[in-house]
Subunit: 293 residues, 2 copies
DNA sequence: TTTTCTGATCAATAATTCTTATCATAAACC
DNA sequence: GGTTTATGATAAGAATTATTGATCAGAAAA
C-alpha cells in the first residue's frame, strides 16, 4: 500500500496519468496499475477518470494532502538517519582543561561545527582528573586532558605538547633577558602546579632543578594555572606555566628556561574506541586539524 | 526504500530477526534481505548483528524513532481517506425550515451523527426560498424544505407530509370538539401562511373554503408558523398550521379540519445528485429513517 | 463527422522478493 | 575445553509482482 504512495501524490499534483508517469519514470499503464492497486487495497476510489480529465474524489483530495505531508515526514526520518550515520546529529559533550588552546582544541571545534552543523556541541571545563571520572560516567563524550594518567579504560590520542616557561613580573631583574637558565632562579620562590595534578611534571621540574645544582624553594602548589599567574604577578615568585599562556597577563613576561625542558602534553581521550559517529567524526576532525595546523 | 520501513520498525522493536520476521509473516532470510537492502539504499548501517544479539546503531535508533512516527502519519492518512470515502469525514451543512420535525429531520440527524461521527454537522434554519439560494450557492449541502418549487437544478426527495390543522384558543367555543368542519370557521378570521411562502398551500386553503361555501376572512398573511400561533393565542383568529406543531403552545388546542385536506410536504433537496460521500450517506440515512419511522 | 487525446486492458516480459536449505559464528553449557 | 544451541547470513530457485508495448474505447474538439 505504502509503496505506491509517492505515485499517487505525483498523480494528484499532475491530474494526468501520462505526465505523472513521466515524472515517475514509468509508463502510463504501470501508473494505472499502481493506482488501481492502491484503490483496491484502500477499498475506495481516489480519482474520477475520464478521457479528458482526471479529478480527485473527496477521499483522494484528503489522501493527497495528508499523504504528501506524511511522506515528507518519512523522508525526513531517512535524512535524519543518514545525518546520524555521518555523525551530523545528536549531542557531543567535550571536556577541556584550563587551557583552551591545548591540543588545538578551539581550531578543532571550529572546524568540526562547520563540517557537522547538526551536532549540538557542549564544552565543559574541568580538571584532568575530573574529566577521567566524567568520561567513565558517560557525561563526557571526549576530553582534552593532560597525560600521563593511570586510566586503562581510556584511549588517549596525543594532541599536542607545549614547553613549560617561566612567568615573572615585568619589573623583575631577569625580565630583560630573552631566555633564562634554571640556575638563575636558584633564589626565587618557584610557583609550580600541584603534584597531584601532574606528578610527572612536578617531579620533572624538581629533577631539572637538582640537575642545575639547587633545591628549589617552592611556594604553595597550585591547582590552576591562572592562580599561579596571579601569584607571580603579586611578586610572590616565578611561576612555571605552559607556553600557551604567554602574553595572557599584563604584568608578567614569559621566558623560556633553556635547561628545563619540561613539556605539558595534551591528549584527546575517550572511553574505549568510540562507536557514536559524532564522536568518531570529532576525533577525525581534531586529528586532521593537528596535521595541518 | 519506504517499502521496508515497516519491517525495520518491527525489527527495531524486537531486535531479533526471527521474531520480527514472524510478526511480519515473513521468513528470516526475507527480512535479512529487506534490511540489507534498506541499509544499502540508505548508505548506512542500522543494526549491529551478532549471533546472540542485535543492537541498533545510533542511525538505527534515530530511524526507528522517526520512522515509526512517520509511518503512523502515513497510516493516519490512509485511514482518513477511507473515512472520507465512507462519508465519515468533512463537514455537512444542513438547512431546515421552521419545523425541525418535518421529514423526520431530528431522527435522521441523530442516526447520522451516530453512524458517521467524523462528520462536522451544522444546522442552519432558513425559509424554503432562502434554502434554494443557499443550496445553489453551495453554502448548504442538503436542505429540508417544502415543495413544490420551481428550481430545476435541485433534486428533491419526498421526506414526509403532514396535515394542516386549525389552532385555536383553548377557551374558544369550538375547542371542545374533537374535529372541525371548514364551515364552522366561516365567521372566524383565518391566519394562514403567506402566499409567497407556499402558493399551493395558500390556494388550496382558499379553494377548500370556497368548496365549503364561503370566502374566508383572512388576517395578515404570515411568514412564520410560530407567529401565526402567537396571533391565534392572542385571540385574533384561527391559525392553519402543520399538525406537527400540535401541543407546542400552552394556550392553543389543535384540531383536524375534516374537509380541508391540505398537506404540508417536506423534501430533502440537493443540487443535482450529490457526489460528496458525506452528503450521499446523509440522504441514505434520512431515507432509511423514513422507512422505519 | 472525424480526429485526437486520454486512460484502461491484455499478454508477455522483466524485476523483485520470498522460500528452503545450508553455513558460519559466538555464547552458553556440561 | 569441547559441544551444543541459537542466531543471522548466504545462495539458488521459485513465486510473486511490476513493467512494458500494443491495442482498445470513450469523450472532447475540430
Amino acid at each position: 500500500m505504502i509503496k505506491y504512495a509517492k505515485s499517487f501524490c505525483v498523480l494528484a499534483e499532475e491530474l494526468h496519468f501520462n505526465k505523472a508517469a513521466a515524472r515517475l519514470h514509468l509508463t502510463q499503464p504501470a501508473l494505472s496499475y499502481q493506482i488501481k492497486k492502491l484503490e483496491e487495497q484502500l477499498g475506495c476510489i481516489l480519482l474520477k477518470r475520464s478521457p479528458h480529465k482526471v479529478l480527485l474524489t473527496e477521499a483522494g483530495m484528503i489522501l493527497a494532502r495528508e499523504l504528501s505531508a506524511a511522506l515528507n515526514h518519512v523522508n525526513g526520518a531517512f535524512q535524519m538517519a543518514q545525518d546520524a550515520a555521518r555523525g551530523d546529529s545528536g549531542a557531543l559533550v567535550i571536556g577541556y582543561c584550563e587551557l583552551p588552546e591545548a591540543g588545538n582544541m578551539t581550531a578543532a571545534i571550529r572546524r568540526y561545527t562547520d563540517l557537522y552543523p547538526g551536532v549540538d556541541v557542549t564544552l565543559i571545563n574541568m580538571p584532568t582528573i575530573e574529566q577521567v571520572d566524567a568520561l567513565t560516567a558517560g557525561s563526557l563524550d571526549v576530553a582534552f586532558l593532560h597525560p600521563p594518567l593511570n586510566a586503562p579504560q581510556l584511549v588517549m590520542r596525543p594532541a599536542g605538547e607545549e614547553l613549560i616557561v617561566a612567568a615573572l613580573r615585568a619589573d623583575h631583574a631577569l625580565a630583560a633577558q630573552p631566555a633564562l637558565q634554571l640556575a638563575e632562579l636558584k633564589h626565587e620562590r618557584l610557583i609550580v602546579c600541584a603534584e597531584q595534578l601532574g606528578p610527572i611534571m612536578y617531579n620533572s621540574i624538581l629533577a631539572a632543578c637538582g640537575k642545575a645544582g639547587f633545591q628549589p624553594k617552592l611556594r604553595e602548589e597550585m591547582f590552576r594555572w591562572h592562580s599561579m599567574l596571579d601569584q607571580a604577578a603579586s611578586g610572590l615568585g616565578v611561576a612555571f606555566v605552559p607556553a600557551s599562556l604567554s602574553g595572557t597577563h599584563p604584568l608578567l613576561v614569559f621566558k623560556p628556561v633553556e635547561d628545563l625542558g619540561v613539556k605539558l602534553l595534551t591528549a584527546i581521550a575517550t572511553v574505549g574506541d568510540p562507536t557514536r559517529p559524532a564522536v568518531i567524526r570529532f576525533i577525525e576532525t581534531a586529528r586532521s586539524c593537528q596535521a595541518r595546523c
